[in-house]
């Protein structure tokens, strides 16, 4: 203590070094050394923490930190060497137990020692950059126990052996395992990885390599996948119970690699049990398992997708090219819808609604639907069938569902303009024969088409509906007017069709029976009276008639026939027998139509109101026709003549296709002109690309056709070739 002066308050350090007794350090150390021994001998209870702490503190304070530290190292090392020997001596399974116990002891000891030496830890260790006590303790353990030559390999082998045994079905002591691995982790992540994890992964890899080889030889695909899935979850469980959590992703990738990635192709293509047969048999669970397993490995999902794709394309190709399946258009489309349903279900139930699979599905459908160029026609016939009778009695929501599904198929069509042509034809027939199931359903379909293709697509179709409605009003007006004084003449029902909205048919007028002719003219006068400037042409090839007929035995029937057929039958009111030639002359019906009408009147069982001589099916010039007095039918009303839409005959199909091609030419030209007008100068390839993209919602233009249209436009001086670069075209204003 220095004297206190009033002005300077100063505490001065010792002016001289206090020399400690040189033995002091040694004595103090001995105390501590003894304490360490006692701690390791489980005799710590007799020690005084306070005294030991003070001793350690003093040593450090008096600059004997080095001695203390070194002493600690040596002492601890000595003890651990002893412990090592006792562990090495342990027999068999007790090895791990012993190790575990001794580790626990060491940790407890280490804690106590660290507490005692805390001052050194905080000051001396820190300033001289030595390893802190706790860490030091772990390192010494690591170096002397874990890395002891007699222990290191034995430890690893034991661990791996236990894991192997567990994998083969034995129960092992998981708690013990956990402690050991935790010990390794505590010793440092590099210890865990080098001394355990790495070899563990290697051994696991060869284990699973062998197992997968065995399994793949004897299991079918589904079974194999189940087993693989089980192994995977086993490993994950193992990690959660007694391994470092970071090992999970490493071991799972080993399993995935060995069991799945290496055998992917073989699994997928396995005969009778691979992906294809799973798809065919709708094995949702197996497919789902495959999806979940394969998504873990690179290219797994794309492998599944590719195989599914090519299988689907094959199946689809068969569906559209098999001549058996092409016989009935409605079945054809139903098959397509069923196939789509099937795969939609698979993708939603087993493939997690994966978008890439959806896209693959769509592209496959688009591919094979367009392989058959009658697809547009058939889809229209399917809708026709549904709208006629197929949807009778079906609830509104279900109707919507069916139509929506059809729309999905429609979207796949590349030649939508062909569909449009057929749809128009079929719709016309439905409307005119009054055979449509419900007006609402028809309209609903039109709305869907409009949403998909735009206003232009459906404007004409809507025009057809308007005409039907207007015609009803017109008829009411007609019968209310003075023109309809007929008495007991025929009753007329006229549908006035706007040309341009309805499909054009070449029409050759025929000779109508007199009484019909009269009332038709009356109607014409009435109509033109209210609508000046219009022209009416009777479409005798599209009409129908109901005739009351009385046969030989007095039986009366009502015959529902086409207009042509009516003309023919009415002739028999005045004569009993007519030859083909005479009928042709009298009616002026075109020969091909006439033959068909006569066939349906004379050659069909149950509908033969006429008799033909000779009885053959074909109509020849000199064939004679008689009114069939002996005609009978159990129905009062007999329907003769087909007005229902049918799939076209070959020549009709050619004709329609030709018309479609003709219609496409102006559309292509319009597109070219539009594009050139805005771009002014373009090279050939760009024009082709632009035109294709502009028209693709309706059809896929043929590049050769586009070229021809360009040349035609050059000739008509809409375009010219650039003088310098012949590949460039220029718009001529």
């Amino acid at each position: 203590m220095s004297a206190q002066k009033k002005r300077n308050f100063k505490i001065e350090a010792f002016k001289h070094r206090v020399e400690l007794d040189p033995n002091y350090a040694e004595r103090t150390w001995k105390v501590l050394e003894h304490a360490i021994h006692e701690i390791y001998n489980h005799n710590a209870s007799g020690l005084s923490f306070e005294e030991l702490y003070r001793n350690a503190y003093n040593m450090v304070l008096h600059k004997y930190g080095e001695k203390l530290y070194t002493g600690l190292v040596n002492t601890m090392t000595g003890h651990l060497k002893e412990i090592a020997r006792s562990i090495e001596a342990a027999q068999g399974d007790f090895f791990l137990e012993e190790l575990n116990v001794k580790w626990g002891d060491h940790n407890k000891a280490l804690q106590m020692i660290r507490d005692i030496l805390m001052y050194m830890d905080r000051t001396f260790v820190h300033s001289s950059h030595k390893t802190p006590v706790h860490e030091l303790g772990l390192n010494i353990w690591r170096d002397n126990i874990i890395h002891s030559s007699k222990i290191q390999t034995r430890l690893l082998d034991m661990l791996l052996d236990l894991i192997h045994r567990e994998r083969t079905g034995e129960v092992i002591n998981r708690g013990l395992m956990r402690n050991i691995t935790k010990m390794l982790m505590d010793l440092g992540s590099s210890v865990y990885q080098e001394d355990f994890e790495k070899p563990f992964l290697e051994v696991s890899a060869s284990f699973y390599s062998v197992e997968s080889q065995q399994l793949i030889e004897c299991c079918d695909c589904g079974e194999y996948l189940r087993k693989a899935e089980r192994r995977l979850s086993e490993e994950i469980e193992r990690v959660s119970h007694y391994l470092d959590v970071k090992s999970e992703v490493k071991i799972t990738s080993v399993v995935e690699g060995e069991m799945i990635a290496n055998h992917m192709q073989r699994l997928v293509h396995m005969e009778n049990s691979g992906l294809v047969s799973m798809l065919v048999d709708d094995k949702y669970e197996d497919l789902s398992r495959m999806y979940n397993l394969f998504r873990r490995v690179p290219n797994g999902l794309s492998t599944i997708k590719d195989v599914m794709n090519s299988h689907l394309r094959e199946t689809g190709k068969q569906l559209v090219s098999d001549p058996e399946k092409l016989k009935d258009p409605v079945d054809f489309v139903q098959n397509l819808l069923n196939e789509k349903d099937k795969y939609d279900k698979i993708i939603s139930k087993a493939f997690n609604n994966d978008k890439t699979f959806q896209n693959a599905l769509n592209s496959s459908f688009e591919y094979f639907i367009n392989l058959n160029n009658r697809s547009p026609e058939f889809i229209s016939l399917y809708v026709d069938d549904k709208l006629r009778k197929g949807l009778k009695g079906v609830s509104e929501e279900d109707v919507e569902v069916v139509l929506d599904k059809v729309m999905m198929l429609f979207r796949y069509l590349q030649e939508k303009d062909v569909f449009e042509k057929y749809y128009k034809q079929h719709l016309a027939k439905r409307l005119l024969s009054g055979k449509s199931v419900s007006d609402d359903t028809e309209r609903s379909m039109i709305v869907k088409l409009k949403t998909e293709c735009g206003y232009q697509f459906t404007s004409k179709l809507e025009g057809m509906f308007t005409d039907m409605k207007t015609s009803v009003d017109t008829m009411q007006g007609f019968y209310a007017s003075q023109y309809s004084e007929i008495g007991d003449g025929p009753t007329l029902a006229v549908q006035v069709l706007t040309t341009g909205s309805w499909p054009t048919q070449p029409n050759a007028p025929c000779n109508l029976p007199a009484e019909i002719h009269v009332i038709c003219e009356k109607f014409r006068t009435y109509y033109l009276g209210t609508h000046t400037g219009r022209r009416l042409t009777w479409q005798t090839n599209m009409g129908t008639a109901d005739i009351k007929a009385t046969f030989g035995m007095g039986q009366k029937h009502e015959l529902n026939v086409s207009t042509y057929q009516m003309c023919i039958l009415m002739l028999f009111n005045s004569v009993d027998r007519l030859t083909y030639g005479e009928i042709e002359q009298a009616t002026e019906i075109p020969p091909s139509d006439l033959k068909r009408c006569l066939q349906s009147l004379a050659c069909v069982k149950g509908k033969n109101v006429l008799r033909k001589e000779p009885m053959s099916k074909d109509i020849a010039e000199d064939d004679a026709f008689y009114f069939n007095d002996k005609f009978t039918s159990k129905f009062i009303k007999v329907k003769i003549g087909t007005v229902a839409a049918q799939k076209e005959s070959e020549p009709e199909k050619q004709e329609t296709r030709q018309r479609v091609e003709e219609d496409r030419k102006p559309q292509i030209e319009a597109a070219i002109v539009r594009i050139m007008k805005s771009r002014r100068v373009l090279d050939h390839n760009t024009i082709v690309t632009e035109v294709t993209s502009q028209l693709q919602s309706r059809f896929l233009p043929n590049p050769v056709v586009i070229k021809k249209r360009i040349e035609s436009l050059i000739e008509r001086e809409f375009l010219e070739r650039d003088k310098a670069d012949r590949k460039l075209y220029r718009y001529l204003a």
Binding site: H684, N685, K707, K708, E711, I714, E715, R721, R726, K727
Partner: protein, 252 residues
């Protein structure tokens, strides 16, 4: 003249014979074209002030000699006579060159304007001068640029008045004629192809593009580019050649 070398002297003489110019003009033109005869011709004829002045009375006489008695045009008979006087075959391609110079609208007839105007331009007012000019005109066909112009001119000239396209037979005849001057080995196949596969008139675009095709695409068709915006008829011709094994495409 004695100052010039032998070769140059010959050229000067040739030049004078063909153009009917003076020696001075001949030497001038040849010097300017570095003693290349064809270049000298070009220079000579493109210099208006060197052009020989023609006597319009002579021109009238000439025209009247050939003109048709009923119509103010030179028609077939007149042309036959003209060819006779010139000692050329009416089918000779040089007549095409003549028509080109005259900017004749249709083959086998010349209007007054065309005939007189053309001869004036060429500096011709007598049959002798006309005859002399013929070998020069023949030589013009050897010039790439002029050949193209003459070729393209031929389309409009050979087709019927009021038609947009050229009748196939006429086209084939013209092609035979033209490609005799500028050799194209595939011309016979082309004509055959057209008769077999096309059998319709030829459009102007196809006509002019054919020359490009003949000039740029080699006989193995190895540098034929399908994306090359050739008229579709030419695309079909290429197909025809490969299908019938006339050409092995691609590798040489």
């Amino acid at each position: 003249m004695h100052k010039l070398g032998r070769g140059h002297r010959d050229k000067v003489q040739q030049f004078m014979a063909i153009t009917g110019s003076s020696e001075k003009a001949a030497v001038q033109a040849l010097k300017a074209s570095d003693w290349h005869l064809e270049g000298a011709f070009d220079i000579f004829y493109s210099q208006p002030h060197i052009r020989t002045v023609t006597d319009s009375r002579h021109l009238e006489e000439l025209y009247n000699r050939y003109k048709d008695p009923y119509v103010d045009m030179i028609l077939v008979d007149g042309i036959t006579l003209l060819c006779n006087d010139l000692q050329v075959d009416p089918q000779d391609i040089v007549m095409l060159v003549v028509s080109w110079h005259m900017k004749a609208a249709t083959m086998c007839e010349f209007s007054r304007q065309e005939f007189i105007g053309g001869l004036q331009y060429l500096g011709i007012d007598t049959i002798e001068k006309f005859r002399d000019k013929l070998s020069y005109m023949r030589s013009e066909l050897k010039d790439e640029q002029k050949f193209r112009e003459i070729y393209n001119f031929a389309f409009g000239w050979a087709k019927e008045k009021g038609q947009k396209s050229l009748a196939l037979d006429t086209a084939i005849g013209m092609w035979q004629l033209l490609f005799a001057e500028r050799h194209w080995p595939l011309v016979d196949h082309w004509c055959q192809f057209l008769q077999v596969r096309h059998n319709k008139a030829i459009s102007r675009d196809t006509w002019s593009q054919l020359l490009e095709f003949a000039k740029t695409v080699d006989l193995q068709l190895s540098n034929y580019d399908e994306e090359g915006a050739w008229p579709y008829l030419i695309d079909e011709f290429v197909e025809y050649l490969t299908e019938n094994g006339i050409v092995q495409r691609g590798q040489n």
